[in-house]
Assembly symmetry: C2
Homo-oligomer: 324 residues x 2
């Protein structure tokens, strides 16, 4: 079932009880980050629909009071077996809330507790428009369009049609830069990421899933607007930053951070969405595509960094190895 049809079914099922009033996204780590654009979309574009983005275990222990007959729950788990996310789906199913599960492996535990299972694309050469991030965004876009209405629906879909091509070009575009970055950062003990708007989740993911998890490098994702209210005091000639310059409404925030870093920092890697071709997507919807761009350009850097550091991206000391 396509996401459009799934939402049509849910909207129809909820007609008699007052419709969809709350949409909850629950996931962990990288999947949590992938939900960030969907959450931001409904936060920004919806007038009445409440939206919440939760770490799955937070959702399980601190389930919002509104969760019930007017809710939709969207969960994501890459292999469909993240225990906290499976539990969140189970809570949804038991409460009679429609549960949409996004996963790469549809024959997995999460499917038992989901009303609708959506498989996303993953791996080498994947279609970016079919990825978890876009699938999640589509749940948000369809819900809004089929309830309150969404003026830019067709323009958004045009963006979806364009994103794969943009991302693949961008990945080629950064290949050389990524090698240089890897050489220059192979001995770093800390690397910060920075971003704003709907693309901030990509900075979060790079920070927690790559630098911390896969490379054991200390990191934090800093919001470019928050940077000037605390974090910027750690800036010096040595501390490295990866700065996402987004396209769309919050670009000014990222550019301001860049102006500061250009004066007081020396080691700044810039991912500029404009330079990377995102501007061919209409400005009314471009905000929501920054994540897919940045999140898919990072792996070019990550591969190079892992090789240069002789620390494969698959190396773990706790995950898959110990009980926790």
């Amino acid at each position: 079932m396509e996401i459009k049809e799934i939402i049509e079914k849910i909207v129809s099922d909820k007609k008699d009880v007052g419709g969809i009033k709350q949409v909850y996204y629950a996931a962990c780590g990288g999947s949590y980050g992938a939900f960030y654009p969907a959450k931001t979309f409904l936060e920004t574009e919806a007038t009445e629909i409440k939206v919440g983005l939760y770490n799955s275990n937070e959702f399980v222990h601190n389930t919002p009071r509104a969760f019930g007959e007017n809710s939709v729950l969207v969960v994501a788990s890459h292999k469909g077996n993240t225990p906290e996310t499976v539990k969140a789906a189970e809570i949804g199913k038991k409460a009679g809330v429609p549960v949409i599960a996004l996963t790469w492996i549809t024959d997995s535990p999460i499917a038992e507790h989901a009303d609708y299972v959506v498989k996303y694309t993953f791996g080498e050469g994947k279609d970016i428009a079919g990825e978890k991030t876009i699938k999640a965004l589509l749940t948000a876009v369809e819900i809004l369009n089929q309830t309150e209405g969404y003026t830019h629906y067709d323009t958004f879909m045009d963006g979806v049609a364009k994103i794969d091509h943009i991302v693949k070009n961008a990945c080629k575009h950064v290949e050389k830069r990524a090698l240089t970055f890897a050489k220059n950062h192979k001995d770093d003990k800390v690397i910060y990421t920075m971003g704003s708007g709907a693309g901030f989740g990509a900075a979060y993911m790079e920070s927690i899933c790559i630098f911390m998890e896969m490379q054991w490098i200390n990191s934090a994702s800093i919001h470019s607007g928050e940077f000037f209210h605390g974090p910027f005091e750690i800036t010096d000639a040595e501390i490295p930053f990866v700065l996402q310059i987004s396209e769309g409404s919050t670009r000014a925030l990222d550019e301001r951070a860049l102006r500061f870093l250009n004066r007081y920092a020396k080691r700044v890697e810039i991912l500029d969405a404009k330079d990377l071709g995102l501007s061919t997507i209409d400005s009314s919807v471009v905000d929501y595509f920054n994540h897919s761009l940045f999140n898919n350009v990072y792996p070019v850097y990550n591969q190079a960094l892992a090789i240069e550091r002789e620390h494969p991206l698959t190396t773990r000391r706790y995950m898959w190895k110990v009980e926790y």
Copy 2:
């Protein structure tokens, strides 16, 4: 005007246009962090009211479409002169949205663009119940109680009555530990904070306002539920953590992080809300008081750390010194 009366006035003013449907909190840095419990309160307890927490500059550039006749805007600026927050208030005022400004200095630029100015307590010996965090929470509690209704209103107010005494005892309780912490951490290049639930904002503030801003120590605030999905791979015997063990619904998440750290880390400072006396507040509302507890216990550590490191908390290299 008391917050209760302010909200009564706004609810009455909005009667003819359909009432309050969206509540937005906008602030920067420490004030952003102080809004975290209020945002979490409405996210968790409200059924229909939408809530958003924004960095002020993000709000200015990416104002949600719903912002208008059914909205309330709450801003906070310590000295009332944070440019991005003043701008957010200005946007609110121009849009005819009631603006509540929380500040320590009421005779300040923010007052020009606010319909209601609320002074909060600050400094040595301050009444914790009069602080920014609680004032912000009260805007959320009053809005909910005066619209959808809030079952635990009286119990919440009982918590407000108790928090000052709890915090002041807790601060005495950690004095010796804080000195030991300072000695043990004076040479650290990175210190992580961790927490969950409505108290997470206190971890964020300690990380960005103290470690990064005031001590130039690298830091990130990690959600205890997210810890196991990436960040925990940086754990080793050397990396220091400050872990908030909250009271209330997400305590299990923090305790899980503690069990892991007890096995694989060696340098963990525990702030346990139960041990610090928070449990005298009723379990139905205790979640929302974790922030005030942790946020006020940290300064005991911060003072000790600043002295031990011979790096005063007032030292800056950029803030107040250069243009940005």
